[in-house]
Amino acid sequence: MQSEKYSADLKEIRSMMDRSTRFLSLSGLSGVMAGIYALIGAYLAHQIIQDARNSMNYTYGFEDVLARNIGESPIQQLLVIAVVVLILALVTAYILTKRKAQKTKQNIWGKQTLRLAGSFITPLLVGGLFTLSLLQYELLGLVAPAMLIFYGLACIHASKYTLGTVKYLGWTCALLGLINTQFIGYGLYFWAAGFGISHIIYGAIMYNKYDRKSQYPLNHYT
């Protein structure tokens, strides 16, 4: 049938346009792992805040406790946890993605990767600096919302250069961040929901949709 050739041609066009612009080897499993690290990190942070609160007989939100301790140990411990979670997540993502890229024969350092990295890092860097200035002025209640919102925007921005599911992860994080602004003092819970639970959920969705198949499907990633 001629129409089969036409449909195959259209599929080929779509596939080539996507393969040449999107980095499709992103591993869904690395999202799941990042979420698990974030949940462990959030749990440890919770313990540290509880300890600090107990030792101070404080009954306010954890941001108040932190505000009293700027420059002292609890906030430094929290920063260490955040950095360790980030590094673990990045290293895991690199290893798993590299493995997947070898399977799908996509070059891990191609133009697609650089475009993806650039579009992801730019909003993240601006947001990171903004978050530091929030810390500087001790506007601690806005730290978690700012992290979630800028991370979400980075995902939305980068999603056109990788698997489409990343866009929904971005929207989820950004919305959680916005809701968090109305519930100041619960930042850690929103942080755990955004960086922990939604990464596990969307990572699992991506894993199911793309990773388990030996070859990624031609028209399933938008």
Binding site: Q2, S3, L10, E12, S20, G110
Partner: protein
């Protein structure tokens, strides 16, 4: 029959179709990138890109980067228009 007439013979071949698809969504692509994306041999890619160049659908820029020859391909306005018409014709035929 008239819709089939809108199909462009120059894009009938799978490799040419691939070259055009890549160039439509990228500012440019070099020889190596195209070869990897399309999974074709050097000779195949060279002859099909030459055919598209002859139709004035793509431009070929040759230069040297670190003394190594580098070939960059870009789509022309004519090529962009022709390929869009080809896609439209394909989509109509699918309906």
């Amino acid at each position: 029959m008239s819709i089939i007439a809108n199909l462009n013979k120059a894009f009938e071949n799978r490799i040419r179709l691939g070259i055009m698809s890549v160039l439509m969504v990228n500012d440019f692509a070099d020889f190596k990138e195209l070869r990897e994306l399309l999974e074709v041999t050097d000779g195949n890619l060279a002859s099909h890109s030459k055919a598209l160049e002859k139709e004035n659908y793509i431009t070929v820029e040759k230069s040297f980067i670190d003394r190594k020859p580098n070939t960059k391909y870009r789509v022309t306005d004519t090529g962009r228009k022709a390929f869009k018409e080809h896609i439209t014709a394909l989509e109509k035929l699918m309906k």
